[in-house]
Symmetry: C2
Subunit: 344 residues, 2 copies
């Protein structure tokens, strides 16, 4: 590869017969530059094929036009298949899609960052403070995560998707998970289900515990003080396993709320295997309204989680905070809705 040097501002300036400063002004549209010169400069830019060097520009402006999408994972179990699962999960894609829908038109780039250890988190915050990116959208996976606090302490503009596990003055967007669970409970009850069980996610992550709490509370209010529950980890297989366990312990069950669609898919398989018809014998309500819900058969009745919208809102919030770091800390909570299909 020839190291043919690329044209720089300097080159353009020489060709246009003006100073670097002038070219810079023209390119950035600053101040009134004599229209004649203006044209001469653009002409030179065209002839040289000049492209501004973003790195150099960022170094002085302290702006990169990039935001980081940080996935904060718990300690990596090394050759851990987890991240693979995470990326393949529709969750990740939906978030990226939502973010890009607003970032793209603003010409802002997205840089992906995975941190799995506190050391990596420290390094990340350091880089961010150094202006590696203008801000961060954070997807926090571990039950308790020091990252949000580190970010605020480093005064790095950041927005979480999902509420922080411990109270931290940081912007976030979240779903009213408890309301969603309530919707599911009421639907199951309204259908006439009598023996209702639940397949939950890990009890220690906020989104999951909110769903558990919301579901239990609603059921208790309607006289169901005890809800048989099995815990999964949001994967399809764990849903299948949980459903089998539930069936073994509660053969007479006629309704189940599954804390996400992927697990519901597994549950459906286990039910089919056990010869139960859905929804006739057992009604199933999922959560997320991911693409899996409509792919399932029967199509899943599920709680809609407007993840794309939430991610888009997170992006907007982040952009606003970057613009005005003194902005009041705010959070946006989305209301879920029940999507009725065939499984309940």
């Amino acid at each position: 590869m020839r190291t043919e040097r690329l044209p720089t501002l300097e080159d353009v300036a020489r060709i246009a017969g003006v100073s670097r400063a002038t070219v810079s002004r023209v390119i950035n549209g600053i101040r009134n530059v004599d229209p004649q010169l203006h044209e001469v400069v653009w002409d030179a830019v065209g002839r040289t094929g000049y492209v501004p060097n973003r790195l150099a520009r960022s170094l002085v402006t302290r702006r990169t036009g990039t935001v980081a999408l940080v996935v904060s994972d718990s300690e990596a179990h090394d050759d851990d298949p987890f991240m693979g699962r995470f990326f393949a999960d529709p969750y990740f894609g939906r978030v990226v899609g939502g973010l890009m829908s607003v970032l793209r038109e603003k010409g802002v780039q997205l840089a992906l960052q995975i941190v799995g250890s506190d050391d990596q988190r420290r390094r990340l915050v350091g880089d961010l403070r150094n202006g590696q990116a203008d801000g961060a959208i954070v997807l926090s996976l571990p039950p308790i995560d020091p990252l949000p606090r580190m970010l605020t302490e480093g005064s790095v503009p950041a927005v979480l998707i999902g509420r922080p596990s411990e109270p931290v003055p940081i912007d976030y967007v979240d779903l009213a998970n408890d309301t969603g669970a309530t919707l599911a409970a009421e639907h199951l009850l309204a259908r006439g289900c009598q023996r209702i069980a639940m397949i939950s996610g890990p009890a220690d992550v906020p989104a999951s515990s909110d769903r558990i709490a919301g579901f239990r509370r609603s059921m208790a209010r309607r006289g169901h003080g005890w809800v048989p529950t099995e815990t999964g980890n949001f994967t399809r297989d764990s849903g299948e396993t949980a459903m089998r366990a539930l069936l073994a312990g509660n053969p007479e069950l006629d309704g189940v709320f599954v804390a996400n669609d992927l697990m519901a898919l597994g549950a459906l398989a286990a039910l089919r295997e056990a010869g139960r018809r859905v929804p006739e014998d057992v009604a199933v309500v999922g959560f997320d309204d991911s693409s899996a819900a409509v792919a399932a058969s029967p199509a899943l009745t599920t709680v809609r989680h407007p993840l794309e919208d939430m991610a888009a809102e997170a992006a907007r919030l982040l952009l606003a905070r970057i613009e005005d770091p003194a902005m009041r800390v705010s959070s946006v909570i989305y209301e879920p809705a029940l999507i009725e299909r065939d499984s309940a």
Copy 2:
């Protein structure tokens, strides 16, 4: 937000009582520095909480430690829902997961770039040449895409996932799509299917046309010179529509090869709706072995597309090319395998 200036190399040097150059050497582990000084410097780094500024470093080293994941789309239909679909598709996540599995341990970042117009492509190539990233992994969606050629002409290290639509001297990884289609054909034939149809993807994208060609060729060799075909666009809904059309024109059909799992899901729905049992009445073979395949009911017999592995290999290839730009252009073709499940 206080603009408390972050410690720089200069500060560390002052505290350690040495010159900037020395600190730089210590930090980058260059040359033998007196072990004593070495320690003094690290101590100063620790005390100040110094973090090197990657931007500044990149500006001089011409290395960013970042590779771009470029999604080259056709002209955006503006408020086009397409990108949303694309990100939500398991395809995107699987690629990201595969890439990260390699990049992560090398400490290389991934920056996401979407280009929808030739203008954006030009700008992208310019930025890349300017060292915005060390190289690019390209996901090319349009039937004919000038990007690969632009990249090679700009001598930007790049690797395509999927072969280029027109011959360009560029590294790529691809799947032997035709072989995959052959696998599907033989399986259907071996099952004893007599009237076999196909739901293909858009005829103008390479991956899709290879599947069509491979399938037709294999069928022809076995005496089936004519294969009823409907074209979809790789979405679930298009698969459903295509299946209906196929059924309408060929009510007696007993086997169908669907060019990806998502469309197969739709086909399954259409078959169910038409009262056909799968696989008893109609055998269905999908393509990709995405998570949708196992989620489907009946679980899809499908052609495995090792996308994660391919993406990982693409990342390795890219890293190698960045290291040695003169490296011979190479391509890696993966062999698909038939995964037998319940639908055929």
